[in-house]
Amino acid sequence: MNAEPVSTSAKVMDFPTGSGAAAVLAAGIGSLMVALFAIAADQSAAIKSLMIFYKPTGPLSGVTTCAIAVWLISWGILEWRWRGRMISLKPVCTAALILLGISLLLTFPPIADLF
């Protein structure tokens, strides 16, 4: 038997919350970036043209590449700053979920077209 039962009250280690907070907040930021870059490319011909990283895919290639880059960079920076620290999770997780909700709404074309 390689299954090792572990009680939550006995052997659980109390990890610092910094890494989790960094990952969650960065995911919220990355999600918002998808929506913001998409709106920017839709509203400005110059940005739309700049976002064409791969011609067959068009501006979507730049929009998503930039959003992913911002997500990973922000994750890296937050991880570097918060790793090993106890960060208050409630405001961070609330902010991340709000960012995710806004992203979901902003990707909906009738709402994105309001800008």
Binding site: S61, T64, A96
Partner: protein
Amino acid sequence: MEITEHSFLTLIHGMGFGALYLLACSGAIVELYRRYAPSCQTQIEVRDERFLGTYLIVMAVLAWLTVLSGAYIVYPWYRAVPPPGTADLTGFPQRLLMASPSTIGWHSIGMEWKEHVAWLVPISITMAAAVFVRYGRNLRRHRELHAAVLGFVFVSMLAAGIAGFFGAMLNKNAPVQGGETIRLMNGK
């Protein structure tokens, strides 16, 4: 029984990677909610923890395969531009949809939403997998972190559902076709 190369790869993108991701979502949500909620008192075995960690990583791989194959393989075929004067738009799905007032919405709302909302999925599930691999059963000790991971996985399912629904409807109204013909089997 034949299928074109483009249709086959579209099928792999949607039914292979995307639908499998959607199927996996419910399992991840149930497991995270049932076993890792702060109020849960049942023991978590190491192998259960490893299983869910692996499960979430596989989901993240599926999510990335779905968006990358969609954006860089299928989408270029969808948005192909016909030569001037082309009357038959069958091989140009975007232009075919935009040619009729009754189908233009599938592009202007359906594809425009799908192509962006789908990218929330890999971001969300990659985060969920990374947090779970790091914290595992310790998620029970951090109520807000548990809620955030569950929330992101739930939204990823919603986003994948939106993308999947519009993908299916777009392909129904203007199928992506072309490339070599693949003969699957001979009928009688």
